[in-house]
Amino acid sequence: MIPFDFEYYRPDTAEEAVSTFAKLEAEGKEPVYYGGGSELISMARVGSRSFGAVVDLKNIPECRAMEDRGDHFYLGAGLTLSDLIEWNGFPLLSKTAGRIADHTMQCKITLGGNLAATIIYRETALPLLLSDAKLTFAGADGLKEYDMDTVFQERLLLPRGEFLAGVTLDKSCFSLPYFHEKKTRNEKIDYPLITAAGLKKGRTLRIAFSGLAAYPFRDAEVEKILNSSFHSRERRADKVVKCLSDIIQSDLSGSAEYRRFVLKETILNILDTMKGV
């Protein structure tokens, strides 16, 4: 049971959603945008989050769309992880979505909800960071497109009152060799000790992590080290661990020391798998 009341709104257009949110905000109702709702319901139930109104985005066409746009592909932020898995057009994204929570939860969690979540892992950000995705925000001035690395720095930098409508992907990334490895403490379905996702473009390996630090990230220095093919695999793995040492987190899933060990093994595995790097 959620121990407080709130109002529910399900707008039919992005403009209606933004104006409804602004009106509720002006009335002091502390509205929230609502995607799949699993995080909001969980947090509301235990009293760690409260709100006076929810604006459900699931009926907005831009949030539900899945469109081939020539060289690019658009995915609405309201698509569920399960939608992404069944689509499988971008295998790295589908694979990543398929390792978040369990299958039934994947039928509820949305792409936008995962990217904008409070939870630190936000694993769908990894393939989007690696493929230079563009994000479409809906706000008072309509829809605006931004580069992923501009508006996702540790977390989604959404101005209050705006929401993520969708993601545009460069289709040339869909067929690139990829790597995805999620290490958990114990069970297959758990938060990541480390999730590493890689994409090989030409002879260059791109890599992004979740679970390693308190936020998902892609790091230029790490990629420079990984692609220094004149160094041995072992040397490169050690240098990556050293490079990231300051941000590696320690929590109930694993100590920073253990994460460093797992990171090194993961890097070695990546270098073995992604031949030619």
């Binding site: 009341d5 529910y8 709104y9 139930r45 299958h103």
Partner: protein, 157 residues
């Protein structure tokens, strides 16, 4: 734009029947199914999306009803275990001994039924992925796997 600001009567499509229920916007689907409609097949377990005992089908897909607002179900086709009505998976659970205490059974039945409907010929890895959404503390996993495979192979229809 649809809105619900206070306790109101809404109509839901449950097991192919339209039912009127009185809900607040903050009501959870699991509570409405059990408390207002007497559909107690969906079980409250963890009530946090972890155990799967409350699983129902929403437009054919398995969803944990403890993490869905009732108001979200408007316009959707909701199926509970009461709506399966002697589906092959129910027979398979009996014949393959797919339960012990039975508390998790309705949730597992919904997941297995959805899998057999959406992916009639799934690879083993997909079966494992789908079944990992639910927990059986009596550990009947082997028998549950046998039951769903018996339906998928046509051994039980």
């Amino acid at each position: 734009m649809y809105s619900l600001k206070e306790k109101s009567v809404i109509q839901l499509n449950i097991n192919s029947e339209f039912k009127d229920v009185v809900i607040s916007p903050s009501d959870i689907l699991l509570e409405t199914l059990r408390g207002q409609l007497g559909l107690t097949g969906a079980k409250p377990g963890c009530e946090n999306g972890d155990c799967g005992a409350c699983t129902v089908l929403v437009d054919g897909w398995p969803v944990k009803s403890c993490l869905m607002l009732t108001v979200e179900a408007i316009g959707k086709q909701i199926t509970t275990v009461e709506g399966l009505k002697d589906a092959p998976i129910q027979k398979a659970f009996i014949e393959k001994f797919g339960f012990q205490c039975g508390y998790c059974t309705s949730g597992f039945l919904m997941v297995c039924h959805a899998l057999a409907t959406i992916h009639p010929n799934p690879p083993d890895i997909l079966i494992d992925d789908w079944l990992q959404s639910n927990i059986c503390r009596c550990t009947s996993y082997e028998e549950i796997g046998n039951a769903v495979r018996a339906v998928l192979s046509g051994e039980i229809s």
